[in-house]
């Protein structure tokens, strides 16, 4: 069965990355209380920078239909989501925040899986290029 890529997925990914980019910019100006409790002020900007840079890079890659944008952006997005998940889990101090923390951690794993998938694809093609 040949591999297939759905063009609509690009739009879905594009929507996801642009929302993360906007969220990062939003959090830079209005950070969440959990993040403020968890991180020092400089790191809050670094964290929102991860979201903005990762979202921008990934969105650029998807918009240009090239894999390199996501390859750079996805680890940043994954880490930013994981940090937010840990912050929510430990510092939000409300019961629903544990659930939100788990959701963001799951989303972080999703980004990581997508990154690994792309990396495997690139390695496969690199291997076949050297092999042939």
């Amino acid at each position: 069965m040949p591999w297939r890529s759905d063009k609509r997925n690009r739009f879905i990914y594009g929507g996801m990355y642009s929302l993360l980019l906007v969220a990062g910019a939003f959090f830079a100006f209005y950070p969440s209380q959990a993040i403020l409790n968890a991180l020092q002020s400089g790191l809050v900007y670094a964290w929102s920078g991860f979201l903005v840079t990762g979202g921008m890079s990934s969105f650029y890659g998807v918009a240009r239909n090239k894999w390199h944008g996501e390859m750079i952006g996805l680890p940043l997005l994954s880490a930013a989501n994981a940090i937010f998940a840990v912050a929510l889990f430990l510092y939000a101090q409300t019961t629903p925040s544990y659930g939100f923390g788990l959701i963001f951690m799951a989303f972080s794993f999703g980004c990581l899986a997508r990154w690994r998938e792309l990396r495997r694809l690139v390695k496969l093609i690199e291997g076949s290029r050297h092999g042939s």
Binding site: W3, R4, H68, G73, P75, A79, A82, E126, R129
Partner: protein
């Protein structure tokens, strides 16, 4: 476990992953054009197809060789039967047939 350490690890992992991504991009740019995911997938498809064709061709060659070997085996068996018949005929005529060599 120190919570700051968890955040440091996460920040480090994110930055490290991005650096690995940048390295991959630089490597890809040096070796040629950075391609779309569809192009990568279609190239893998083409590679798979090529490998499948090569496998089928190799299987066909093996089958042909097996058929050829079968033909030679039949030829050898026929020759052995012929030798046995001749040896039997010689013995019937009171002659001593020569020592048969190793034909394996």
């Amino acid at each position: 476990m120190d919570l700051n350490l968890i955040f440091t690890i996460l920040f480090g992992a994110g930055s490290g992953g991005a650096i690995i991504g940048i390295q991959n991009v630089i490597k890809a740019m040096r070796s040629g054009k950075v391609q779309s995911e569809e192009t990568l997938l279609s190239r893998i498809d083409a590679d798979n197809k090529k490998q499948q064709e090569m496998r089928l061709a190799a299987e066909k060659r093996a089958d042909d060789a097996e058929k050829e070997a079968e033909g030679y085996r039949k030829q050898r068996n026929g020759a052995r039967e012929e030798v046995a018949r001749l040896r039997w005929f010689m013995i019937q005529q009171g002659l001593t047939p020569p020592e048969s060599g190793d034909d394996t």
